[in-house]
Symmetry: C2
Subunit: 200 residues, 2 copies
């Protein structure tokens, strides 16, 4: 039996932090895992900015409420779920993408948690598991699944390497050059064709 693991932001949804950066005018928040592979470093950098600027969960939810999935992502997800078991492996936080997940029909999401104060301040974050993307793929393989995985950035790398078939979706040029063995899909149609070729 086969299972598909997908990254969320950059594959199905826009980058939430970038949307927050644009809405708030805080350019510093445009830094993502595509720029900074050290996730803990990136998150502390982000949370420090939010604290300094007095931005809490309510303000972030306001931004997320105005967002939509990437063009083509809804149809792609519908097709994918009708063909094969799907699990989203994301380094987002369960509190973040909820209104956006509704557009996608709430696919199963493995992610992390924010530590939110009673007044809505984001006081920190709790990784459910270090390197969860790779470890989840490993667990699915141990449960006798053949795993197809697709992601767009450095935090997807160990997931793609652990999977039976890894696919890069619109990766940064640097990453594409560094990992030339992964097939590259530049839109959802190509990603669909790439996955379909591997489905039994």
């Amino acid at each position: 039996m086969q299972l598909v693991c997908l990254d969320l932001e950059g594959v199905l949804l826009p980058e939430i932090w970038i949307a927050v950066a644009r809405k708030t005018g805080l350019q510093e928040l445009e830094r993502t895992t595509r720029d900074e592979p050290d996730y803990d470093k990136l998150m502390h950098y982000r949370l420090d900015i939010l604290k300094r600027e007095g931005i809490g969960l309510r303000e972030i939810h306001e931004v997320i409420g105005t967002m939509e999935p990437l063009p083509g992502a809804v149809e792609f997800t519908e097709w994918l779920e009708s063909r094969v078991a799907l699990i989203i492996l994301s380094d987002t936080f369960v509190q973040f993408p909820k209104p956006l997940m509704a557009h996608l029909g709430y696919p199963t999401l493995f992610c992390h948690e924010l530590i939110v104060g009673t007044n809505g301040t984001i006081d920190g974050y709790k990784l459910r598991l270090e390197d969860q993307k790779r470890k989840s793929v490993k667990a699915f393989k141990d449960l006798n699944f053949e795993v197809i995985a697709a992601g767009d950035s450095y935090n997807d790398l160990t997931m793609l390497q652990e999977a039976d078939h890894g696919i890069l979706f619109r990766p940064p040029e640097k990453m594409k050059a560094e990992y030339p063995d992964f097939p590259v899909a530049t839109n959802h149609q190509e990603l669909r064709e790439n996955i379909e070729r591997r489905l039994s």
Copy 2:
């Protein structure tokens, strides 16, 4: 982070084999895991009957095409997926419930596979994994999920025991008496309340 694992037939869908039994008039096929805890024994018994009667995948799909989810199951699944990550752990076969899964919005399904001949005969079955329900719950716990599980019959027992919280849904009287420690839900509203109490 929390994850809900649900059995499929008897919880969200009617028992497919019972529907096949009624449609074909073959009462012998009404035997389920609720009656026969040894799954391999049960499956060989079923496949022998199908072979003897000349019933293939096409005939079974015809029956499944006429079925609907259990009353209330669609709304229950919608609510559940909007609240928490969901994975269906079933001893069905990936070829069986597809048209019925569409009604439920294709929740992620971990199950097994039938071995189907080119002429549509069901030649055997391939368990993806022995005791997959328990092992899957164990894997999710190792991935740092708190697992809530619900099922209706003997093949759910190890899953319910392995989970952090196990719930029986409309179990046979015998099973309810044998395992009095599990809370019992007799309809989807009660199951929803039982799960909701455990969600953080």
